[in-house]
Structures are given as structure tokens and as C-alpha cells.
């Protein structure tokens, strides 16, 4: 999905009000040029004769000229937090990191269209400064970010990298897409996610079909853990396949339970990024 004509954008809105001055498309808390009526104010307090409400002014008991005050829709900063650890380098047909790059490209297009600034932070064992892109409103930045992701060589990493990268986002109001496969210990992940309490976090969980679905035929599979290089040989057979699927389902249920306890809803990417599904995700979130 590297060709631009195959790029699908998706629609996203913040479900909560964002504080910000820059006009955009998300519900904001600042007053300004918007559709959402807040109240009337005295023309002297808010000298904008274009918003003068004659009907309300006549009805006013104080005799003031009243102007309508609306809430302005704001643009927010969209922050990408991309895990580029070795496990993201896995993939039967395409690496998970390539799938993540597709998502980044699509997100960059979508964010530009709604006027949001987009920045990227990547991490493996620690924050990857070479992949860091500050939040900007540039149109062509998406393909740059995606290419830098596609070309980076994944190195072993862990939850420490996430904790390191998160330091830059503490207390910022933003829409954070946390792109990873979430093979992390959940107790430390909870503490890390608590740092992002000001932001709206979308956990984007990238899993490869080869990871969740065992090989269909019986075989001996000598495996090596991407992060720790621990080895384990499996003799693939029906019993083991059942155990494998059960383990994946259990992990998924565990992640769901863990994230929903923090009022987060995970978005799963299986093999390929689906922009429609991402739009649906936000419609459900804002509904």
C-alpha cells in the first residue's frame, strides 16, 4: 500500500473537548467562530457586531446589545507513538512495522485534511531520536514518517522504551496513537499509560496473522523470541494449535479488560490496516 492512490484516509474526532486556540475540527472549549451556541454577551464585553442578536437584545431587560457567543472547533496535536522494537519486525508476508507505516501514512493524510498537527515518537529500548518528528502541519510529512519507519532496523526493546518516549508527552493535551503489538507486562504498561491522562489515547494493536494463527500443518517449529532471543521448539499438532489459539484469545481478553479499566478501547490491526474500521472506531467513540 505504498502507492498514494491506494491511500485511504479515515475520519476521526476527539470525543472530548480540547483546549486549543487553533481552529480545527474537534470540539473545543475556547470561544470563537463555531456553530455551537454558548450564551449571549454584552457587545461591550465582546465587540463583534457581526454576531449581534437583535431579537435577544430587544428581549433583554438590561437594554444591552447582546452578541451571540459560539464555541470554536479546534485543531489538536496528533502524536504517534510507534514501537519499533524487534517484535515489530516480525511478519509472515509484511512486517508489522510496514503495516504500522501504512497506518501512519493514512493518519498523516487524515490529519492534514482536518488541520491537525502530527508528530511522531518512536522507541525500542529507549526513544529513537532518529525517528522523532516534531508536531507540524506539513502535508508531505506522512510519507517521510512512513518511509523512515519502513527503513528502520528494529532492535530489541521493551516497556522501558515506551516509558522513555512518554516523558515528552506528559501533561500535553493530544490525540495519541500508541502503535505497538503490546507484548509488554501489563503492570508497567498501566503505570506508563497513567502518564498520558491528559491525552486521548488510542491503543493500536498490530498483530500478524502468523502470530495469532498457528501453522495449519503438523511440523516441528524451532522458534526464537525476537526480543530476548530465547529459543523454544514446538512440535505443532492439533493439541498445541488449540493451546496456541486459546493463549491468543486469553491475551486479547486480558488486554481488553486491562484497557477498558482505563477507559481505553484497543484498535486491532490484523495483517493490514483498514481505514474504514478506524473511522468506525471513532464514530463509536464519539457517539
Amino acid at each position: 500500500m505504498s502507492a498514494a492512490d491506494e491511500l485511504h484516509e479515515f475520519h476521526y474526532r476527539l470525543p472530548q473537548r480540547a483546549a486549543g486556540q487553533r481552529p480545527g475540527s474537534h470540539p473545543g472549549s475556547s470561544l470563537g467562530a463555531g456553530q455551537e451556541f454558548v450564551s449571549h454577551m454584552s457587545l461591550y464585553d465582546r465587540p463583534d457586531p457581526r454576531r449581534l442578536d437583535l431579537r435577544a437584545s430587544v428581549r433583554s431587560t438590561t437594554g444591552d446589545w447582546l452578541v451571540r457567543v459560539n464555541r470554536q472547533r479546534v485543531g489538536v496535536t496528533v502524536q504517534l507513538l510507534v514501537d519499533v522494537s524487534a517484535s515489530m519486525g516480525f511478519g509472515a508476508r509484511r512486517r508489522k512495522i510496514d503495516v504500522a507505516a501504512d497506518f501512519v501514512e493514512s493518519l498523516a493524510r487524515s490529519a492534514f485534511r482536518v488541520g491537525d498537527a502530527l508528530g511522531m515518537l518512536a522507541f525500542d529500548q529507549r526513544e529513537r531520536a532518529d525517528l522523532c518528528v516534531p508536531a507540524t502541519l506539513s502535508r508531505g510529512l506522512g510519507s517521510v514518517m512512513a518511509d523512515s519507519l519502513r527503513q528502520c532496523t528494529p532492535a530489541p526493546g521493551g516497556i522501558e522504551g515506551l516509558e522513555d518516549a512518554l516523558q515528552q508527552l506528559i501533561g500535553r493535551e493530544a490525540l495519541v496513537f500508541l502503535v505497538s503489538d503490546f507484548h509488554w507486562p501489563l503492570d508497567r504498561l498501566g503505570a506508563a499509560l497513567d502518564l498520558l491522562s491528559h491525552a486521548f489515547v488510542v491503543p493500536v494493536i498490530v498483530w500478524d496473522p502468523a502470530e495469532t494463527e498457528p501453522p495449519p500443518h503438523d511440523a516441528i517449529a524451532p522458534l526464537r523470541d525476537a526480543e530476548s532471543s530465547v529459543r523454544r521448539t514446538l512440535f505443532m499438532r492439533p493439541k498445541l494449535r488449540t493451546q496456541w489459539r486459546d493463549a491468543v484469545a486469553a491475551r486479547r481478553a486480558e488486554l481488553d479488560a486491562f484497557l477498558s479499566a482505563r477507559d481505553l478501547r484497543p484498535f486491532f490491526i490484523h495483517g493490514a490496516f483498514d481505514a474504514e474500521a478506524m473511522s468506525d472506531y471513532f464514530f463509536e467513540a464519539t457517539a
Binding site: 516480525f90 529459543r231 521448539t233
Partner: protein
């Protein structure tokens, strides 16, 4: 180069033995990358398989290297104890042995037609003798046999051995072709005695002389035979295969020289009778053998049945324990190691066919 009971033909090849550790190196390309092993089940069968292929590969390499080094057990001598004797079969190969024996029912045959009956129904003496000797050897696995044919001169066929197959082959070989021209018992006996001379005395010794004819031995030969038999403590057994009309070695022939002296007519008659018999070769030989200081037995056989009885008699006579040294040649074990390596390689191929090499 000898390690314990194993020696190596090319010990320097063992320098390659560290190569067997190669499969223990953990190479990344042997494995498939997986994002996290935490959610995969632990599999005992898989762990065994992962260990097994390494072990097989090490075994295969080590087996090949060891096999190339040519292991073998070195040449040894083993002391064996057998029951039985050292039997030298001294068999007449002369033409007279091709003559027929009397058929087993010869006693019922009219003496006038005996010659005809023998010619038509009898079996050749040599064939019967070989047949029985072959059975005799077969029945006595503990004995050590040597085989010597003789006619004009001795022909050493099989030296002393306990490997019956060789002796049997030698006996069979005696049936090839026709008999030879002459019978020289004296030279044959001397040669047979000589085979014992260099051997340590380990048990009872027998010379089994199988012949149908006698010989007049001159005095030097008689002396050598007498001294040789006595010095080597060899018992002499004579299987006398009697031909039709050959002299019978009965009591009369076995009688000691007459004590009759003097010039009386009777004494001269007795002496003449004795020496007249002495002129018959068989009787002369028999009398000489009787005069020997060692055990001597005569088995006279007219028919195949008599011969069988005689052979059985020899078997009964000799049944004493016997110690002897046997040389065991170097045995090469590299074939064993090669087959072990081949087996390991075959199992590795099976493992490889089961291997998951890609996620697709």
C-alpha cells in the same frame, strides 16, 4: 594407537573430532523469529525434538570421524579350552582308495559272485571315508583337526584349526579327480609327526591314518617314526579300509614274534609262517605299529558300516580337555560407526522433512 581395547588405523583423523561440536553452535538461521514466546504453550515433545536433532547431528559427525579413523579391536590371542583332542587326519589319496568297498550285506552274498557284487554295488573307499570323516569332524566341534593327504609324498592341506568349515572344505577337496599313483606311508607319517613337533602339548594327540594299504618301512624310517611318536606323545589310530582279497589283520597277524627257537622242523615252520606273513605289507605295518611304545589302535573296516563304527570308536576314545591359544585377527569396527552415522543422517532427514521453515 591403542585406547583400551580399541585401536585406530588412522588416529590423526580423530583431530577432526571437535567438528562434531558444530551442531551445538546456536545459529540464528536454524530458528524462526517469533514476536513473543510468552503466549505460546510449553511443549515437551518440541523440546525433545530440539534436543534430539542436535544430538543426532553430533552423533552423525562423530560417527563419521571415528569411522574414518578406522577403529578396530587389535589382534589378540585367546586361550580356549576345548574338550577333545588334536587329531591329525592322515588320509591316503592313492588310487587304490578309489576301489569299491564291500556292500553292507556282503556276508549274505555268494563268495563266488562277491567280486562282481563289489564292483557293481560297492562305494569307493575314499568317498565313504571322506563322508564319515566329514561327519566325524562335524560331531566333534571341540577337537582341533589337521588334514594331510598323502600318496607318494605328504600334502599338508589344513594345519591345526578349530574352524570346522576349513577342515570340511579340505575333506571335500580330497574328492577331486582320481587318486594318485603311489602310497608312501613312511614319509607321510614322518611329516605328520613333524607337524606336532613345534606345538605345545595341550591335550591328547592322535594321528588318524586312513589308508587301505600297508608298506614295508626300512629301519631308519621306523626309528624316526618310533622316536617321533614317543617324543610327541602321539596316539596312532589306523582306519584300515580292507579291500576285497586284501589281508585280514586278525589275531594271527597281530601275534607277537614266535618264541620258537632251534632247528626242529616245527620251530622252522612256525618261524617261516610268521615271516611269510611279515612279507605282506599290511601285516608288516601292523606289526610295526604294535611294537610302538605309544597307544595304537587298529580299526579294520570291510564295509561302510564297519568304517562308521570305527570312526565312532575313535570319537569315544578321545574326550579329554584341551587348552590351546587361538589368534584372533584385528577386527575393523568402522562399518559399525558408518552405519550409526548413516542412521543418524536418515533420522536428520526425517527431522528436516518435518521442519517448519517459513511462516507462509
Amino acid at each position: 594407537m591403542i585406547f583400551g581395547a580399541i585401536d585406530f588405523a588412522q588416529p590423526w583423523v580423530l583431530l577432526l573430532l571437535p567438528l562434531a561440536a558444530l551442531p551445538l553452535l546456536r545459529r540464528r538461521r536454524d530458528t524462526l523469529l517469533f514476536p513473543t514466546l510468552d503466549w505460546l504453550p510449553r511443549d515437551r515433545a518440541g523440546r525433545v525434538a530440539g534436543f534430539a536433532w542436535r544430538a543426532l547431528a553430533v552423533l552423525a559427525l562423530a560417527g563419521i570421524v571415528i569411522a574414518l579413523a578406522g577403529p578396530g579391536s587389535p589382534e589378540t590371542t585367546v586361550t580356549r579350552t576345548g574338550r577333545g583332542a588334536e587329531i591329525m587326519i592322515l588320509m591316503d589319496r592313492s588310487r587304490s582308495m578309489d576301489a569299491k568297498m564291500k556292500p553292507s550285506d556282503w556276508r549274505t552274498i555268494d563268495p563266488h559272485s562277491m567280486l562282481y557284487q563289489v564292483e557293481s554295488r560297492g562305494e569307493p573307499k575314499s568317498a565313504v571315508a571322506r563322508d564319515l570323516l566329514s561327519k566325524f569332524v562335524e560331531q566333534r566341534p571341540d577337537d582341533r583337526f589337521a588334514l594331510m593327504f598323502f600318496s607318494a609324498g605328504p600334502m599338508n592341506v589344513v594345519p591345526f584349526t578349530q574352524h570346522d568349515a576349513v577342515v570340511q572344505a579340505g575333506i571335500t577337496a580330497g574328492g577331486l579327480g582320481r587318486g594318485l599313483s603311489d602310497t608312501n606311508v613312511g614319509r607321510a607319517l614322518t611329516a605328520a609327526i613333524d607337524t606336532f613337533t613345534e606345538r605345545a602339548y595341550t591335550g591328547s594327540r592322535i594321528i588318524l591314518l586312513v589308508t587301505d594299504g600297508g608298506a614295508h618301512l626300512d629301519e631308519p624310517t621306523r626309528k624316526r617314526i618310533r622316536e617321533g611318536l614317543q617324543a610327541n606323545r602321539i596316539a596312532l589310530h589306523w582306519l584300515y579300509l580292507r579291500t576285497l582279497n586284501a589281508p585280514e589283520l586278525d589275531a594271527e597277524a597281530s601275534a607277537p614274534p614266535p618264541a620258537a627257537d632251534g632247528d626242529s622242523m616245527e620251530a622252522i615252520e612256525v618261524r617261516n609262517a610268521y615271516y611269510a606273513q611279515e612279507s605282506i605289507a599290511e601285516v608288516s605295518l601292523h606289526r610295526f605299529f604294535q611294537s610302538l611304545p605309544v597307544t595304537y589302535r587298529l580299526y579294520q573296516a570291510d564295509s561302510p558300516e564297519d568304517l562308521a563304527k570305527a570312526v565312532a570308536e575313535v570319537g569315544r576314545q578321545q574326550n579329554f580337555p584341551l587348552d590351546f591359544e587361538e589368534r584372533v585377527p584385528r577386527q575393523d569396527h568402522s562399518r559399525l560407526f558408518f552405519s550409526l552415522a548413516a542412521l543418524c543422517c536418515a533420522l536428520l532427514l526425517v527431522y528436516r522433512s518435518l521442519l517448519l521453515r517459513s511462516w507462509l
